[in-house]
Assembly symmetry: C2
Homo-oligomer: 325 residues x 2
């Protein structure tokens, strides 16, 4: 059996979840691919740091060239986060003829055209499933078997941190600042929560979904974006009194070829299907002119759900390589 | 631009929806495929019968050999329904080196091994997305980007007719027989409703989902199956009094490699996510050991939603052909 070699850039939460998914399910993954799959190199800052997951000797490296310039590596999985140097690394890997899988919405949203052009120019794939809604396989759906639809609308709760905060404020009558502090203590929110609470993360995800669904790329800076940091207990109480729940909604509509889009808090009637999506869960609605309304629901974050998406994309890239070899 | 030629077996509701989906969205479908796509032959019983959709001269034929033995046809879309002669036609098309797309759950569930073996032997694809849950892209998800998961459970409302009947009985306090008659008049139930109301259709769909999710094929006759024809107004009233809704649930569990499965009416608590799936809508839950719980929701039947799935699979097969030509 051939071996497909994967180099992973980063070994934080998502990287660890990806590695664990392969370890847990190696037999069925390799059966699916028709080749053996090995994460043979992982880029980290400090190779000596103790880690939750133990890797064989020689797997960890602090030199990115060991992965992106390594002729033995077939697939690069980029789970670093941040626009740079991740974008530069992905471009280099694509230009070196490697398939790239990424969970990095900020980098893909910022450099969408450049990255996909490099993939096309080098006849390799760039697979971003894990960028949007964690484990929910929405990007693959809209780009494969839903591809015969003209999409009229996409609408989603795409950020687990803000949905957790809004759910806790609503269900327990708490203030924004208190819930945020609690979420940070529990690891549901980052030390600097700006990208989540100000809607930037959701705008990145919306940018990628719009580009894939409508074939029209909008830079996330050009998406009107309002976060939840100004939502008060009074706003929540008013919504509750009105029979509504406040959710951070990313939405895009395509009317006669004219796109409109935004990320903002919306008071949804409690009987709206998205109103019952609570805590760290994500959901995406799409409306196609043939299929009608579809909803996808699942965990939008977390090491294993996101690892499922990264490993799913690695599996698809590995299968493509195995079949062409 | 190359032309990929599709021959369609059948021109009823699903065939018409497939044809219309291509007509509506031809430009984006062909851009996606990278080739032009043409439904160049359609098998019908009577070529002279007036139809809702007008096709160019020479497209309709009453001779199946014009499609399955026609060297110009690249893809056969089988939307006849019924186990035979559909299975025989599909096998012949596969053995003639044609990719096959099908919406026919009865045929695929009855002859799963034979059909997929013929596809593998001839190095072509057999694509059954439209067989399960209409427009909901569940089969593609579990066989592609969710493929890195061991699935623990799948659970679904897979039959729109029975879900419509149960919803109407529950919401309007009606008797089974009256709702069935009304559903038949509205075209939501067939003249002979046996396959739907006795759970046979749901068992066919469960058989296909289990084979793809667990890699283990069970003939639908071997799935314990109970329909809804014995559900009375009294059963519904009792469920309502207990805070439940009766739904026809197809379910399969994989515990330590031991599969258990059934199709039967289940009283679900009203706060269960599947309890709010009403009328002709379908929903599927899957639980994977990495991704956790996912739900997919959408229209499980109807010409355009099912046509979206058939056309989506044609698109994927056509893309494969265009890229290999």
């Amino acid at each position: 059996m051939k071996t497909i070699k994967v180099g992973m850039l980063g070994f934080g939460n998502v990287g660890t979840g990806t590695y664990q998914t392969l370890e847990m399910n190696r037999e069925l993954i390799e059966k699916h691919v028709g080749a053996s799959v090995e994460i043979s190199k992982i880029l980290v800052n400090d190779v000596t740091k103790p880690r939750q997951v133990v890797t064989p000797d020689g797997v960890l490296t602090d030199n990115v060239a060991d992965i992106i310039d390594n002729p033995e590596i077939d697939i690069v999985a980029e789970v670093l986060g941040g626009i740079e140097p991740a974008s530069e690394y992905m471009l280099k890997a694509l230009n070196n003829g490697k398939h790239v899988v990424t969970a990095n919405k900020a980098a893909v949203a910022a450099n969408y055209d450049k990255l996909f052009k490099a993939a096309a120019d080098n006849d390799v794939s760039l697979r971003p499933e894990a960028c949007v809604a964690g484990g929910i396989p929405i990007l693959n759906a809209i780009t494969t078997v839903l591809g015969a639809n003209k999409f009229d609308e996409i609408l989603g709760i795409l950020n687990g941190t803000t949905n957790y905060i809004l759910t806790q404020m609503t269900d327990n009558g708490l203030d924004y600042a208190d819930v945020l502090k609690d979420a940070q203590a529990k690891g549901f929110a980052e030390a600097d929560p700006t990208a989540d609470v100000e809607g930037i993360d959701a705008a990145n995800k919306l940018s990628i979904m719009m580009a894939l669904a409508f074939g029209h790329y909008v830079h996330p800076d050009d998406i009107p974006t309002e976060g939840i940091s100004k939502i008060t207990k009074a706003d929540i109480d008013k919504a509750t009194a009105d029979g509504c729940k406040i959710k951070l909604i990313a939405s895009a509509k395509n009317e006669d070829g004219k796109l409109s889009y935004s990320v903002k808090p919306v008071a949804l009637p409690t009987d709206h299907p998205l109103a019952s999506v609570s805590n760290e869960f994500n959901a995406v609605f799409v409306k196609g002119n043939a299929v009608g309304e579809l909803m996808f629901y699942g965990k939008g974050a977390g090491p294993l759900p996101t690892g499922s998406a990264v490993m799913g994309d690695i599996l698809m890239a590995a299968k493509e390589i195995a079949e062409s070899k």
